[in-house]
């Protein structure tokens, strides 16, 4: 587990992995370990967040992230309220500032927010005293997704240091890619990206990320391959000429993977476009970590909720010392 590493506090909000240290990220992964076991129990619930109120504020549609957070919250015994943009006051033109003020007035303990604008989570976190967890803000970050990915990789490889991970696809528009890049860099992994140049944002090399223009060389280099969803609208916006061509040039196929000497585990944040960025036999194949990712999602989110919640974290260590 902790390898004697001192546990690191996370602060009030989880906005992204960029501002976190490697120790903070590993603390979250370590804390997720015991939470995995809770989901295996007969009664999948611990009372630790009893009486705490959590609002899941989703300004963008989401199924799996919202459900995963909801499971995590309920298994920690929190009271949860789901608010989606459809039919809410948001559609009536309420600003995010007013939404924040209203949440504050209702004495919410934590807010899990997904929003279409980059920076929205930080914006909210800076304006309310409740804890804010970013469940995806525009193209900025999706930290809990990357944390569950890191946990899945650590489960698979035993460690993350020096692990060579390549992220394939639409890096430019992907908050998942950004959070994974930061997370992997922070814990000492080697990170590369691969995709058409139109979908690679500028400045990645400055961050220490390798860029592979060809999927074949990426597969040769990496120990694990992280495949991103290619959205249909990217074709309409002229980033790629067609989905068929994308599949031919960048699709992760068993034929391409078979050319590698090693067996390369495959991750995908879902939902998948089978036959576009990933072929079905890869997605359903023996090296797919896609379902373990989903399982780990609940444990990681429990860990994040647990670590951010409660009283004053700095007292925690003192309490541990004082215990007879």
């Amino acid at each position: 587990m902790s390898d004697g590493r001192p546990a690191a506090n996370l602060g009030k909000d989880l906005v992204g992995l960029e501002p976190l240290s490697g120790d903070q990220i590993l603390t979250i992964l370590d804390t997720a370990e015991p939470f995995k076991e809770i989901s295996e129990r007969q009664i999948k619930k611990v009372p630790v967040l009893r009486g705490q109120t959590i609002v899941n504020l989703f300004f963008e549609p989401s199924t799996r992230t919202r459900i995963s957070f909801e499971f995590a919250e309920k298994r920690l015994s929190a009271d949860t309220v789901n608010v989606s943009a459809t039919g809410s006051s948001v559609e009536k033109g309420e600003t995010l500032v007013d939404t924040a003020r209203n949440l504050e007035a209702m004495r919410i303990d934590m807010v899990v927010m997904r929003h279409g604008a980059a920076g929205a989570a930080q914006f909210l976190g800076d304006r309310i005293s409740s804890n804010v967890i970013n469940a995806g803000d525009g193209q900025h970050e999706h930290p809990t997704q990357a944390l569950l990915d890191l946990l899945t990789l650590r489960d698979e490889f035993g460690g993350l240091d020096d692990l060579r991970v390549c992220i394939v696809g639409d890096i430019l528009h992907s908050r998942v890619a950004r959070s994974n890049i930061w997370g992997l860099l922070r814990v000492g992994a080697d990170v590369a990206v691969c995709g058409p140049q139109t979908l690679i944002p500028r400045g990645l090399e400055e961050l220490g990320v390798k860029v592979f223009p060809h999927i074949e060389t990426a597969i040769e280099w990496c120990e694990a391959l992280y495949v991103l969803r290619l959205q249909l609208e990217r074709m309409n916006a002229g980033f790629v000429p067609s989905l068929q061509e994308y599949n031919r040039v960048y699709g992760v196929t068993s034929e391409r993977l078979d050319r590698s000497d090693d067996e390369i585990p495959i991750l995908h944040p879902g939902p998948m476009n089978r036959g576009v960025e990933i072929d079905s036999d890869v997605a359903d194949g023996p090296h797919s970590l896609i379902l373990p990712q989903v399982t780990n999602g609940v444990a990681v989110r429990m860990a994040v909720l647990y670590l951010l919640s409660g009283g004053e974290p700095e007292k925690a260590d003192a309490a541990k010392e004082g215990e007879a």
Partner: protein
């Protein structure tokens, strides 16, 4: 208490536990951290006496504490590992020191989330009094009076390189 005293007490506790209910459906569950080592020691003694290994488990009650809202989260949670079947068994909770009773209360809650034992009992090496809940031990190694400003510290070899019980100056209140 030095090592010899503690070993004598543990032997006597094992006798008491066996005498009260035998070993047939016995499960020894230690509370992290030092209760786990004591439970394992008791299991070893029971095996010497009966020739049978009784199942043991460990409980981390962090997530069941009643002072979470005051002290906040503790990042390092130990794992809870219980034998696959505790329902209809006789579970003996083992801890090093019994004081306020709040830890035992949390342990009872946690065990209930794993199943419904036939009976739950409590075994402690040291009872120092000062209960804040209506909880009493079934098996006590030694009851002690502790002067105000001091607290009981149990050492086990796996953690502290010693097997002993001392009183030490109290840690400041939270």
């Amino acid at each position: 208490m030095d090592r010899e005293d503690v070993e004598v007490r543990l032997d006597a506790l094992a006798d008491d536990i066996l005498e009260a209910g035998g070993h047939q459906d016995l499960v020894l569950v230690g509370i992290r951290r030092r209760g786990v080592q004591l439970a394992n020691r008791l299991a070893d003694i029971v095996r010497e006496k009966t020739g049978r290994q009784v199942p043991t488990g460990s409980l981390d009650i962090t997530l069941y504490r009643d002072d979470f809202a005051q002290i906040g989260p503790r990042p390092l949670i130990g794992s809870t590992e219980l034998p696959s079947e505790i329902s209809d068994h006789r579970v003996v909770i083992v801890d090093d020191v019994l004081y306020t009773g709040r830890t035992v209360r949390a342990a009872l809650d946690e065990i209930a989330d794993f199943g419904r034992p036939r009976r739950i009992e409590l075994c402690v090496l040291v009872d120092r009094g000062g209960r804040e809940l209506p909880i009493q031990p079934d098996y006590v190694g030694r009851a002690v009076e502790v002067e105000s400003g001091r607290q009981v510290a149990v050492s086990v070899p796996e953690i502290d390189d010693d097997l002993a019980v001392h009183t030490v100056p109290e840690e400041p209140e939270e």
